[in-house]
Amino acid sequence: MAIRRNPFHTLYLTEGADEVDLPPVFSDVILPHVGPLFLPGNVILKGMQGTGKSMLLSLLETKVRLEFWKNVKHPYPLPDQQCRFVGAGINLSKSLALKLNELIFSTDRDENIQRSKIVFSDFFNSWILRDLFLSLGRLMKDAAPDRLRMIGVTGNAQSLDKAASLLGRADSCEFLRGQETAEQVEKTLTKRLRAYLDLVNSLSRDKRLPNEIEGTLTHAGEPVSAATRVLRSAKVIERDTNIFVTVDQFETLLRKRQDDGDERKHKRFFDVIDDLIANRDRTVSYRLGSRPNAVLEKSEPLRDYQDINLDAILQRGEHSKNAVFPRFAEDVFIRRLAVSDFPEIARAKNPLKHTFKASPPAIERAKLCASQKHPEKAIRCDSAWPKDVCSFLTELAKEDVLSAKLGEVWFRQQVAKEVKSGKKKPTPDDIPFDPKEVFRKPWESRTWWKKERVALAVLQIAAANAQRVCFFGATDIIALSGENILAFVSICREIWESWGRAQAESSLSTKEERFPPFDELRQDSGIREASRLWREKIAASPQGNTLQRLIDTIGDRLHKQLIEDRRMSYPGANGLSFAKHDLESDLEVKRLLDDATAEGFLLQRDHTPKTLSRGKSIKWYPHPVLAPYYELTVPHTKEPLYLTVAKFREWLQRDNVLASNDQRDPVPKNRSDEATNQKQMTLYGETD
């Protein structure tokens, strides 16, 4: 039997866009929500890891556009009127831009910072200018004339050469002086970048810029603006054709490397881009792709740039039929399968359901998690409770364990209301209660009360049977993906993988498993594996070990809270809520939470608390894909766990996520110092 490859084996498609045929797998579901990305003006495209930023930005790349134009079956997904642009760009984590901070230009700290900013700017300019010329050259060579007219590129090779020679005369491009053709300009720029590469890679201790660069350093953005102007005047592009400069992985400029104690090294390059956006030169439009924790400080939203928050878009209509994410996920699913070894699934009527079936209703899920022989073990009656009530619930559990569990909880709440406060263990006399009330199963008619507690009830039923809650079916998979396409693809991959392994071993033991649909246990084990890997992945992110301990602390504590909440007073306690003003008082904790959110390990939502006095609050949930690992409930129902930052810090210190108070450094005085004072546990528990 031929081996069919896992269609989800490659998690990221656009990051390795060179090897992937993009048009068939590109999903256009989000496009209607990100209109400004294709209009003039600066845009910051924000979203946590795995929301599809790079995929969207790739639409601006010339190489990708040409691929689409060649593809008859999958046309370029933007309407013609949104196509009047030429793209150029840089991926900050792939280029060597970050390495430039390793160079030291002066022993004087401030001068060194100043110099390295200029060098970074020049590198950035050279990269983008070269990319722009290459893009135009490629367009003129490979695109059909009608396409060129549509996007507003009307010139030819001669006019491009003319633009090149004009650029050589521009004040801001001194290093191109005397260049007469586009080819010469490209060569000069390549040589310049090469010189930077050599400088960074050189082992010699005396790292100095070559003289020809030293004397001709450029300010960020100026050469590209100048180029845009000459391209227009030389009639290479039309007056209304935009130049879109993409800066992807912008947040890497904020990251602190482990061997780099000076965060300003990165911050200074961040500043360069911030200045660029703030300087209001409208000739060129910049697109920054970034995670949500990178916040520009000098430029102003709306006036200097427009924010597109992918997380918010994907969360839109979270609970409605028009929700964006489920459609996005299904589209990605179909497209991936269509080009895979399983094309027949993509042609099915509802491929996602066809492959994974429907998720079980809560009542079925509860039955699956409960003990098969003695489901009534999930019900716990207190000794003081009337016998009738206990035997009713026990009998009910054999038929419908979920209803019985909810009944237990409902009764527990009634008892708590009746028994006077302060009395810890009620006696039977304290419960003046008519058991007939219970026989009517009043909890079944309290729709909201029940809805909020169903997931928790299932979790507690499973725990009573020492089992994990099982997850399978399309709805579960979408819910566990938590609006993150990377999580969705990971889950699909692990389910396929789990099936594949079972096939490899099937000749020895089990019978061959046919799909679709996938077997429930197969899905469950794939989902658990994806969950475990997502948790493992935390350690690989920047500051990964700290973040992993943070998420472990949150996950374990919330699990304990959920399991021990026998009255189910806080069914929404799979998340934490902090008052905004409280959070601002501890920037270290706040930064940890923000970083974990940016990496997609926590989800952040605004929260309007019950009590007005608490003020605006923010709530955090562990990403739903982590729910199977930490054994948490998935739905985000009302009222997360209210916490003060001080209490939370206590948790973190006890679990060694943060250094305890006596190990902390004195309060930092200014921002940059405070940034360097990131709490790193010292080896010997002492401060220096």
Binding site: A462, A466, S506, T510, D524, S525, R528
Partner: protein, 326 residues
């Protein structure tokens, strides 16, 4: 049909609580099965390692015992072919070179050190202590000029010390290095040393690649008794790579080891089986009650607890041992 290992682990990790590490172990064992365990030489015709693992786990009833057995597998230190070759190189570059420099009184600062050292190597006679494939050792270390590849334990029974001395002298040899890939309690090394003790005209080095702590004791006793003998092993099995019969007093030990000790005691009768003719050497913790957890791709030593390697009518081994004696 019975459950596959993956299915078993999947079922276990569905249990609430800290069970996720079982999937990690499963992934690790999958890797080791292809990269390492598949190199195991004895009984190649027996089912592949993955299937052997299943049969081995099924020796004990499903439940905690079986889980503990599974958690124990990564604690076995399996030395594969590549690791052994590295060990050969390390032995030559380390203990052998150091000893030879001393024995030949070479000056390492001298300009002609390389040539002198090369001369010394050529004047050294290499042999195995007890049945190691000396050819591989010679090839890996590119040692030339020695066509006879003796086994000193064999010579202790069949050889003649006077003849050997005569041959070595005529071949211009001055030193003898006896190597062995694995030395357990050192009883075979003792036999070889008996023969070597008669070759009084030569200085001799015993250099096992891997040696259990009790073998080190044997080696040290031999050095004390035989004046021209030196003992310098390459890798001494650390106490942490053992499953001792008694828990180390006052020290914490990994829970997998504690669990496994209980199993070794409890299933000892089942491991032994009912056939009096096929009984393992030693007790539940192997020959000399060593409880060693180190094994090599060419065999599982008998000082490893028999539940790993012994086949009986009531026990399936994980790595079946090939006994020398029938």
């Amino acid at each position: 049909m019975s459950e596959s290992v993956s299915e078993m682990v999947d079922r276990w990790s569905r249990v609430s609580g800290k069970t996720q590490h079982l999937s990690e172990i499963l992934n690790l064992l999958r890797l080791l099965a292809t990269e390492l365990y598949s190199q195991y030489q004895p009984f190649q015709e027996s089912p592949p390692s993955w299937e052997r693992l299943r049969e081995w786990l099924e020796n004990v009833p499903d439940g905690d015992d079986r889980k503990h057995l599974f958690e124990f597998v990564p604690w076995l230190l399996f030395v594969g072919r590549r690791e052994m070759e590295v060990m050969y190189r390390a032995a030559f570059a380390g203990p052998i070179t150091r000893w030879l420099i001393d024995a030949a009184s070479l000056n390492i600062a001298a300009a002609d050190f390389s040539e002198r050292f090369q001369d010394a190597v050529e004047q050294t006679f290499f042999g195995s202590i007890a049945g190691m494939d000396i050819g591989s050792f010679i090839r890996v270390n590119e040692l030339r000029g020695q066509s006879l590849r003796p086994d000193f334990r064999v010579l202790a029974y069949l050889g003649d010390a006077r003849n050997t001395t005569k041959h070595l002298k005529s071949a211009g040899k001055k030193w003898i290095v006896a190597v062995e890939d694995y030395v357990g309690t050192g009883s075979q090394m003792k036999e070889a040393a008996q023969f070597l003790s008669q070759l009084t005209n030569f200085r001799i080095l015993l250099c096992p690649m891997i040696v259990a702590p009790s073998g080190v004791v044997t080696g040290e006793v031999l050095v004390k008794n035989i004046g021209h003998l030196a003992f310098s092993p390459t890798f001494v099995v650390p106490p942490s790579a053992t499953l001792p019969e008694n828990p180390p007093g006052g020290l914490l030990e990994p829970v997998e080891i504690t669990n496994m000790r209980a199993i070794a005691f409890r299933f000892w009768a089942q491991v032994q089986g009912s056939d009096p003719d096929s009984q393992p050497y030693g007790g539940a913790f192997g020959f000399g009650n060593t409880g060693s957890l180190v094994m090599t791709y060419f065999n599982c030593p008998d000082n490893v607890p028999p539940f790993v390697h012994h086949l009986s009518d009531t026990w399936e081994p994980l790595f079946r041992r090939l006994y020398r004696e029938a």
